[in-house]
Amino acid sequence: MAIKELKVLDQKLYNIARAIAEAIIPAGGAFEPGANEVDAALLFDHYIDRLSRIQFRFIKYILYMIQYTPLLTKFKLFTRMSLGERIKYLQGWEESRVSSKRYIFITLKLLIMMPFYSDDRIQDAIGIHSSMGEHPECLLKV
C-alpha cells in the first residue's frame, strides 16, 4: 500500500485496520472474497475522511486499543496474531458483557463493513444489488 493513497490513516494505522478488517470478513466461507480482496481498510480510510477531529481521535484510539491490548493477555500485538486468533479475539469484543465494549466494536464494524458490502464485487458475490446509483432495484420500473 503506497501511503499516498491513504487519506487519513498513516501506514501503521492502515496495517492495524487491515488486520481487523480481515478478521471481521475473512476470505472463504459462504462466498469467496474477504476484506483484503477489495482492500476494505483502504475503503474505510476513504470513508472516514470527514470525521471531526475528536471523532477521528476516537477511531484511532479504538484501533490502538485493539492492537495493543492483546499484549497483556496473549503477549502479542494484534497484527502479529494468526487469522484464527484475531477472529477469536474480536469475538470477545463483539460478545462482551460490557455494553460499551460491544458498542465500540459495532461502530468499527459499521465503518469497515459498510464500504465492503457496498462494493459491486461483493454485491455480485452475495447476489444482491441494493446500491445501483441512479436506478436501484425497485418493484416498479420507472
Binding site: 471481521i24 459462504a30 462466498f31 446500491s131 418493484l139 416498479l140 420507472v142
Partner: protein, 514 residues
C-alpha cells in the same frame, strides 16, 4: 449563480463575499419546522431569510451516491449522533436544505387526538385541540401529498409481517406517506433518488423562494446576540461543503428570529450562546426509542425491494407500542445484525431471506436532555425508564410471535443474551428475568420536547404559539416545542404546528415585528 431553477436559494458556490441581511424574519434551520414557517411568512408578505447549515441536494446529486455514502453527505456526524446514558443510543439527524425530511422514511401520522387533549390539560396549551388542528393537518397533507402506500410497492418484507399479524388477528394496515410516483426502491432514508418522496425541499422551500424568501444553504448560524429581551443579530459562517471550513461570514439583523434547528440543535445553540431562557430549555427530551427484530425465512424476501416503512401494526398502540416496517440494504443491515468472521458471511449470503420490522415505544417515563458539549457539539443524555424497557420487551415479544406466525425459521431480537429465538416457545425467555437497558441495541429517530410549549412560563420554554416567554422577538418552531412523546412519527405534527404558529405571527405582525 443561485441553485438552478430556484432563484433565491444560494449555496456556498454562489457566494463570493461576506453577507449582510436585514430581513423582517430570520429562520435558523430549513427542516420540517423551518420550511413551513418560511413559506407561510413569506407568503404573508414578510421579508424572510433562512439559514441552513447543510447543503442543497436533489435527486440529481445524491442519486449517484451509494446508500452508505449518504451518511457522510446528508446526515450529521455520519448518522451517529449519540445520546449517552446507560447505553449509547444512536439518534440520526439530517443536515440539508429540507432538514431531516430529506432522509426520513416518509411516514405520515396526524397527532393523535388523545395527545392534543392531554397537552391542553397538562400544559394549558390553547387553540390546539383536534378541531383547531384539523385544517392545518389537511393543508400540510395536501402540500406534501400524503397518500396510503400502494400494496403493490410494499415488498415482501412488509407482506410477511402482515401475513403473521393477520394470522394472529392483530390490527395492522398500510402507512400513509408523502410521495408521488414512488416505485419502491427502498432508499427513503438515504435520500429519494427520484424525488418521489415529498420532503420539504421539494414543496414548502421552493414555494417560500417563489414568495421572495432568501434561503442560504451551507450557512451555519453560530452566534445570537441578545440585548435585554430583544434579539439583535445572528452571525454565522458560510461553509465550504467539501471541507466544512468557513469561507465567508454572514450577519443577519432581523426583527424576529425563529429557531428551527431541531430538538437537538435548537437547545444546543441557545445554551452555547448562554441564552438560558428557561430552566426547562434542553430538558424533557423524548426520542421514541426503537429496536429492530429480524427473522430468517425459507422463502425469498428481498427486503430491500419495496417501501421500507410501508406498513404498521397498531395492536398495542394504546400501550405505547408501535410496530412499523424497517428494512435497510445489506451494507447497513449486516454490520448491526451480523456476526464477524465466517458466521457473518453466512448471514450475508442469506440476507435475501431475512425480514425485519421495527418496534418503537412512546417514552412517557424516560428522561433525556440536551446541552452544549465539547467539539462544538451538543451533549445529549437519555435514560430509559424501567417501565419503557418493559414496553420494549413486550413489543419485541409480539413482533417475534408475528414472525413465527408468518413462518419464520428463527427470530433475532437484538437483545444481548436473547439474540436467537429458535421456536415460539423461546419467546417466554424474554420475560423470565429482568433485562437491563444495557442489553438493548437501540436507535431513535424522533427527538422532541426540549423547548416545550405551555402557558406556564416556569414549566415551559415557549407559549402555545411558540413564542419564547422571556424574549420579545424570538419564536421556536421545530420538534423541540412538541411537549410530549407522540407515540407516532412526528413530521406532520411539527409541520402543522409550524403552519399554525406562522399564521399567528403573520396575524399579529404589528405587535411582533417592530
Amino acid at each position: 449563480m443561485p441553485a438552478e431553477g430556484i432563484n433565491m436559494l444560494f449555496t456556498y458556490k454562489d457566494i463570493t463575499k461576506d453577507i449582510f441581511e436585514q430581513p423582517d424574519v430570520c429562520i435558523i434551520g430549513s427542516g420540517a419546522g423551518g420550511a413551513v414557517m418560511a413559506d407561510v411568512l413569506s407568503g404573508a408578505g414578510l421579508d424572510v431569510v433562512v439559514l441552513e447549515e447543510g447543503g442543497y441536494y436533489t435527486k440529481d446529486r445524491y442519486s449517484n451516491y451509494k446508500p452508505y455514502e449518504s451518511f457522510k453527505i446528508l446526515y450529521r456526524d455520519y448518522g451517529a449522533t449519540l445520546a449517552f446514558g446507560r447505553i449509547p443510543i444512536m439518534l440520526p439527524l439530517g443536515r440539508a436544505v429540507g432538514g431531516t425530511t430529506v432522509i426520513n422514511s416518509g411516514t405520515c401520522f396526524r397527532t393523535p387526538d388523545s395527545v392534543l387533549n392531554d397537552w391542553a390539560e397538562t400544559f394549558g396549551i390553547i387553540k390546539a385541540s383536534p378541531i383547531d388542528m384539523e385544517p392545518y393537518f389537511e393543508r400540510v397533507e395536501k402540500t406534501i401529498n400524503v397518500v396510503p402506500v400502494d400494496p403493490e410497492i410494499l415488498g415482501r418484507n412488509g407482506l410477511v409481517f402482515k401475513r403473521g399479524a393477520d394470522a394472529l388477528g392483530l390490527s395492522n394496515g398500510m402507512l400513509k406517506h408523502n410521495m408521488i410516483n414512488c416505485h419502491g426502491c427502498g432508499r427513503c432514508v438515504f435520500g429519494c433518488p427520484t424525488d418521489a418522496k415529498q420532503a420539504v425541499h421539494l414543496n414548502f422551500i421552493p414555494s417560500a423562494v417563489k414568495h421572495g424568501a432568501r434561503v442560504y444553504a451551507n450557512a451555519r448560524a453560530d452566534r445570537i446576540r441578545v440585548e435585554g429581551r430583544t434579539v439583535k443579530e445572528i452571525t454565522g459562517s458560510i461553509l465550504n461543503e467539501e471541507t466544512d471550513n468557513r469561507i465567508y461570514s454572514i450577519s443577519v439583523k432581523p426583527k424576529l428570529l425563529i429557531m428551527s434547528a431541531g430538538a437537538v440543535y435548537t437547545p444546543y445553540m441557545l445554551d452555547r450562546n448562554n441564552l438560558r431562557i428557561s430552566p426547562e430549555l434542553g430538558r424533557n427530551l423524548a426520542i421514541h426509542p426503537a429496536v429492530r427484530v429480524t427473522a430468517m425465512f425459507d422463502e425469498l424476501i428481498e427486503g430491500y425491494k419495496g417501501v421500507p416503512q410501508g406498513n404498521y401494526m397498531d395492536a398495542y398502540a394504546s400501550e405505547g407500542i408501535m410496530h412499523e416496517g424497517i428494512f435497510v440494504p445489506p451494507e447497513i443491515g449486516l454490520p448491526v445484525m451480523g456476526k464477524l468472521g465466517f458466521k457473518g458471511k453466512e448471514l450475508a449470503s442469506n440476507y435475501n431471506r431475512t425480514a425485519a420490522f421495527g418496534v418503537m415505544v412512546s417514552d412517557k417515563n424516560s428522561f433525556g436532555s440536551v446541552r452544549a458539549g465539547v467539539d462544538n457539539r451538543p451533549f445529549i443524555t437519555y435514560s430509559l425508564h424501567p417501565y419503557d424497557i418493559k414496553k420494549m420487551i413486550k413489543g419485541i415479544a409480539v413482533a417475534s410471535e408475528v414472525f413465527f406466525a408468518a413462518g419464520a425459521k428463527s427470530v433475532n431480537t437484538s437483545v444481548f443474551g436473547f439474540n436467537e429465538l429458535k421456536t415460539p416457545d423461546d419467546i417466554s425467555r424474554l420475560f423470565e428475568k429482568k433485562i437491563s437497558a444495557t442489553a438493548f441495541e437501540m436507535m431513535a429517530f424522533h427527538p422532541l420536547g426540549t423547548a416545550r410549549m405551555g402557558e406556564m412560563p416556569g414549566h415551559s420554554v415557549v407559549d402555545s404559539f411558540g413564542k419564547v416567554h422571556v424574549i420579545d422577538n424570538m419564536f421556536i418552531s421545530d420538534g423541540s416545542i412538541v411537549p410530549t412523546s407522540l407515540g407516532v412519527n412526528p413530521q406532520i405534527t411539527i409541520m402543522s404546528l409550524s403552519m399554525r404558529n406562522a399564521e399567528h405571527i403573520a396575524e399579529n405582525r404589528s405587535k411582533l415585528i417592530k
